[in-house]
């Protein structure tokens, strides 16, 4: 039985397809330094070499160990490249040299290594990525503590935090071989001095090499390797469509916050996701509070989001009035099953006042497993910072107005006291409290509440004139006044915040919508590129560039917000890298960050169409972290538009090629037929002349040669039209002159027809190219001579009326197929259905049309009114007619 789950998963097949053509990565994973990873890697490399594989060493650290050095001997090593950094040279793996050498397999030690500043990639694993992408197999080594998602765990028990980490995704695509020795043996080797340790770190590391630490690390390494086998197995199962059981349907959401340790949250979520084999999403909830984040907090959120992307998560930013509301909405929508959140160690007082996010979440998201991680609270100074920014003390004018209001109310209440009771007076005092709280915020509202209750107490509560209260019931009025102040100010501030958020989100949507509307109406790629640049530049207030591939010239600037901008070598390298690798490069990214520009690829599917560069004039970070999602949307939409335009162009090109091919085929057949026929006649006639030249033979040679000459002329003319090389030499031309010249030159083609000229001598001059007009007339006469019945006359008729000048060539013959008159002007069209074989390339009338239109004239084909032949008419519109009557003296 076949069920849905038995079918191969398309995603898994896609991933497999993406792997094809890529090199394979094998990682020698160790629990700690000294387990013999490098040795193992070199041995296996040497073995492959013996098996005939083209192996080179990209980079290997022997740390002076003799056994290791012995293994290197006799192997090909790509020399390292010296990178100058702060006055001294650092040797780094020469990525370009290896790419140029293009071996089958390259050995690259220490995958987690950080490259010297100024290298192409900050990290060696990125170099390895590029090698893999180039189809080169890579062997590499890594210790378990360098793995991104295990970073926190390792630090928690070894108390050594490793800065050089490698994303888990690198390991996921690799075959893993664990190089394992028991902890005791490793400690033994350490004591024998067989383990290389950097001198300065010896003390810290001796703690690291305790037996318990090594056991824990070993367990981590073995578990990680097992997990990876598990994952690869699952991938295999999914690709084959083999039914199996695995924990399906789990969806993990991690809520990112702005606190220190947000990256730890992401790594924890990654572990949960790996354990459950579920897709995971990193979610950031944008609340009104987000607007008051410090730069540090923005950076933290952005870093956590980037890390999540690197670890394989989908990222989402959702605006909402509160964190709880936003998370709940997203979790519902995404049908998440696991939620990872951080809980700050806030004071009890704070939680009582604001409520705990976690408690709220647990209450509101039933059926979702919530993982809670403790997080550090923000340093205090900073925390106060934003709180002050958020509410503030309020403007002094607010207090003055409030005080004034209270004075007015007090005066009013005193004046009316004889008709009011005490309760009504208290109600009157609500007015200034509500006004102050809603207009000037919480503090001014509280001030109003306190002052009002004091005034009420002093002026109206007995004993009047003192602040003492003898009836406890009246205390209630005071509390009510204060309570109203608090409630009103909270309510209005929330409404205001929501309105702000809504308008921000509306702005974003409006930006996107406007951008799309504009772009959708564009049909020209250059125009679209210019528009994209301008819009992005306007929205983010940055300089923008759009670079696209140009045949033979590599990546070139297609549009720019400021055309004066020039890219230097570093910028171009970043742009090219972004284009070739399909991911961001330049400032603020992980690659070639020394460039002042941030280059983001515009991708449609797997294909990179162009690269957008953004930079700030003051050389700051091009785009604020909180604006990145909007930039990403704009770029994605731009990519779609460019792809649409590209496909349209491709379609047009295909059409043009098809038309050209059709024309070429028609041309070849017509040339071979129409040229060989007269040539055959000429050759045959010349042969016959061996026995004496008769007038008929001579006439045949002459007329056939003339025909050949006409074909050549037409082909040349057509080539000129097609090449767009038609040059007009317009001059005032006398039509009677033109007709006389054409009928003289066409006299041979008109053999057997009388030519009747009906061109009045007083027709006005026309402004045309005399040569082109001559060729038009020749072709029309030639056509009439061929299709007119033998012996019938051909009429040339010139008429001037209604401001137009019409010159018609009329024959007596079969005429044109009714309803298809216009078709005769198509290239290589000859009237079908005629029982006479009539020579001609079918180019003549197409040339007439092209020439006539080039001169601003039109040509019409019709049948004579009595259906006894065809009439072709050249129409000279009013603007071609020369009006100037020459002065008497001039002529």
């Amino acid at each position: 039985m076949t069920t849905d789950t038995d079918r191969p998963s398309p995603e898994a097949l896609l991933r497999q397809a993406a792997q094809e053509g890529r090199g394979r990565l094998k990682i020698f994973l160790g629990a700690a330094p000294g387990v013999g990873k490098t040795f193992e890697m070199l041995s296996e490399g040497a073995e492959r070499r013996r098996a005939g594989v083209d192996v080179v060493i990209g980079v290997v650290e022997t740390h002076g160990r003799a056994e290791t050095a012995a293994l290197i001997r006799g192997q090909e090593i790509v020399p390292r490249r010296a990178v100058a950094y702060e006055g001294h040279a650092i040797d780094e793996m020469d990525l370009d040299a290896i790419l140029a050498r293009a071996p089958r397999l390259v050995l690259v030690d220490e995958l987690a290594h950080t490259n010297a500043p100024g290298s192409r990639h900050p990290k060696r694993y990125q170099d390895v990525e590029e090698l893999l992408a180039a189809g080169i197999d890579v062997y590499s080594t890594i210790n378990i503590q360098h793995l991104e998602s295990l970073n926190d765990i390792v630090a928690s028990f070894t108390r050594v935090r490793v800065r050089e980490t490698v994303p888990d995704s690198v390991l996921e695509q690799a075959e893993i071989e664990v190089v394992d020795i028991p902890p005791d043996e490793l400690i033994e080797r350490l004591k024998d001095g067989k383990v290389y340790l950097p001198h300065e770190a010896t003390r810290a590391l001796s703690h690291f090499f305790s037996k318990s630490n090594l056991s824990a690390l070993r367990e981590l390494a073995l578990r990680r390797a097992a997990q990876s086998v598990d994952a690869q197995m699952l991938e295999h199962v999914r690709a084959l469509g083999v039914g199996g059981t695995w924990a399906g349907g789990e969806r993990i959401v991690v809520a990112i916050n702005e606190l220190p340790g947000a990256d730890g949250l992401v790594r924890a979520a990654k572990r949960v996701a790996d354990g459950l084999h579920g897709p995971w999403t990193a979610l950031f909830i944008e609340t009104p509070r987000t607007a008051h984040f410090t730069d540090e907090q923005h950076r933290r959120v952005a870093a956590a989001m980037t890390l999540a992307t690197q670890l394989g998560a989908v990222v989402a930013t959702v605006p909402a009035a509160s964190v709880v509301e936003g998370i709940r909405g997203f979790v519902d929508h995404a049908r998440a099953t696991q939620l990872v959140v951080g809980k700050s160690r806030r004071s009890r007082w704070f939680e009582l006042l604001h409520g705990s996010v976690v408690d709220g979440l647990i209450r509101e998201t039933a059926g979702v497993t919530v993982h809670v991680l403790p997080m550090e609270e923000e340093a205090r100074g900073r925390a106060r910072d934003w709180r002050r920014g958020r509410t503030g003390w309020g403007a002094p004018s607010g207090y003055a107005i409030t005080a004034g209001l209270i004075v007015v109310i007090t005066a009013l209440a005193s004046a009316l006291f004889h008709v009011l009771n005490l309760g009504n007076v208290a109600l009157l005092y609500l007015l200034p409290v509500m006004v102050a709280a809603s207009l000037f915020g919480l503090r001014t509202g509280l001030f109003a509440g306190i002052v009002s209750s004091l005034a009420y107490n002093f002026f109206f509560l007995p004993p009047v004139g003192t602040f003492s209260v003898n009836n406890p019931e009246n205390l209630i009025s005071i509390f009510v006044l204060l309570g109203v102040a608090i409630a009103t100010s909270q309510l209005t501030s929330r409404v205001r915040a929501q309105a702000d958020l809504a308008s921000a989100s509306a702005r974003t949507n409006a930006t996107l919508a406007g951008f799309l509307r504009q772009l959708s109406s564009v049909n020209d790629p250059a125009e679209a590129a210019r528009m994209i640049c301008e819009d992005v530049s306007r929205v983010f207030d940055v300089q923008t560039l759009l670079l696209g591939p140009m045949a033979g010239a590599g990546l070139t600037v297609q549009a720019a917000s400021n055309p004066a901008y020039r890219l230097d070598t570093m910028d171009l390298a970043a742009a090219n890298w972004a284009f070739d690798n399909g991911s961001s490069a330049g400032k603020g990214s992980g690659t070639l960050a020394a460039s002042e520009w941030l280059f983001t690829p515009l991708k449609a599917g797997e294909r990179t169409l162009a690269v957008m560069g953004v930079a700030r004039d003051d050389a700051g970070d091009p785009v604020r972290a909180d604006q990145l999602p909007l930039l990403t949307s704009l770029i994605d939409q731009s990519a779609l538009v460019l792809e649409r335009l590209r496909l349209e162009t491709e379609m047009r090109d295909v059409d043009a090629v098809r038309t050209r091919d059709r024309l070429r085929a028609a041309l070849l057949s017509s040339v071979s037929h129409d040229f060989r026929t007269p040539l055959t006649a000429v050759i045959a006639a010349a042969d016959a002349m061996d026995h004496g030249a008769t007038p008929e033979l001579i006439a045949t040679v002459k007329s056939e040669a003339a025909r050949l000459n006409r074909f050549v002329g037409n082909l040349l003319d057509m080539a000129r039209v097609e090449a767009g090389a038609l040059k007009l030499n317009v001059e005032a031309t006398d039509l009677s002159d033109a007709v006389a010249g054409a009928s003289h030159d066409a006299r041979r083609a008109l053999d057997g027809h009388d030519l009747l000229l009906d061109v009045p001598p007083d027709l006005p001059l026309v402004r045309v190219d005399p040569h082109l007009l001559h060729h038009c007339l020749l072709n029309l006469l030639d056509n009439a001579g061929r299709y007119g019945d033998p012996g019938t006359p051909i009429v040339i008729e010139g008429r001037h009326h209604y401001g137009q000048l019409r010159l018609s060539i009329i024959d007596l013959g079969p005429g044109l197929p009714p309803g298809r008159e216009a078709e005769v002007f198509e290239t290589f069209r000859r009237i079908e259905g005629s029982d006479r074989a009539i020579g001609g390339t079918g180019l003549g009338l197409a040339i007439v049309k092209a020439f006539a239109e080039a001169m601003g004239m039109t040509v019409e084909a019709s049948n004579r009114g009595d259906d006894t032949g065809a009439a072709f008419t050249l129409v000279f519109p009013t603007n071609l007619i020369v009006r100037t009557a020459a002065p008497e003296s001039a002529i």
Binding site: N709, N729, T733, S736, D737, A740, A890
Partner: protein, 228 residues
């Protein structure tokens, strides 16, 4: 002694054809296949006429015209497959006497050659009375007669006809006609010339076909047909 003709063409078939045709017509023929040879032969043989192809292997035929002009009084007839009007005008302006387009009508070529040789060495005919069929054009007296009856021409018609008659049988470019007939009149335009020619034809050709007396060279100029 027959007049000597120099044929300059890079195609041996064309040279052979010219040699046949011209020798049959009673001329002596020498030939050259490129520009350098043409200059050498022209200097050594001092031909009466040169038939010059413009597409030569070593240099542009146009550049040869002033050199040939400088080193002799041969009549130069350009025979070329190129049919760009501005090239024809350039050839005439550089000093060529006439041009014939390939492929050409042999009889027409011989007729042009005869006319050119007749006026060899003089840029204008010294004849003061030009006869063409039943027309008589008296240049000095500004009289045009047909069958002895005087035709009435306007001043401009006279001027235009006079410049054509002085170069009878040869093409005169639009610019030259306009310069001769309208002089420094800046307003003078080709339209005026067209109208004048049309009127002349009405008077001189009618009822014969258009172009029987004054031939039109497309985009280049006009020619008063010579008697041949």
């Amino acid at each position: 002694m027959p007049a000597k003709i120099l044929v300059v063409d890079d195609e041996i078939a064309i040279r052979k054809l010219f040699r046949n045709t011209l020798e049959r017509a009673g001329y002596a023929v020498v030939d050259a296949m490129d520009g350098r040879a043409a200059l050498a032969v022209a200097a050594a043989e001092a031909p009466s006429a040169i038939l010059l192809d413009l597409g030569l292997p070593d240099r542009d035929g146009l550049s040869l015209i002033p050199l040939l002009r400088l080193n002799g009084d041969a009549v130069i007839l350009v025979v070329s497959a190129r049919d760009a009007t501005d090239e024809k005008v350039a050839a005439l302006d550089l000093g060529a006497d006439d041009f014939v387009s390939k492929p050409f009508d042999t009889e027409e070529l011989l007729a042009r050659l005869r006319v050119a040789l007749r006026h060899r060495g003089v840029s204008e005919t010294t004849q003061r009375v030009v006869r063409k069929g039943d027309l008589t054009i008296d240049l000095d007296r500004r009289l045009v007669c047909r069958d002895g009856a005087e035709l009435h021409l306007t001043r401009k018609e006279h001027d235009v006809l006079a410049v054509l008659a002085r170069h009878v049988g040869r093409v005169v470019t639009h610019d030259r006609i306009i310069a001769a007939a309208w002089g420094g009149d800046e307003d003078a335009r080709i339209e005026y010339l067209r109208i004048v020619i049309r009127n002349l034809r009405q008077k001189l050709e009618y009822p014969g076909p258009v172009g029987s007396v004054i031939a039109n060279e497309l985009g280049v100029g006009y020619r008063l047909r010579g008697d041949s």
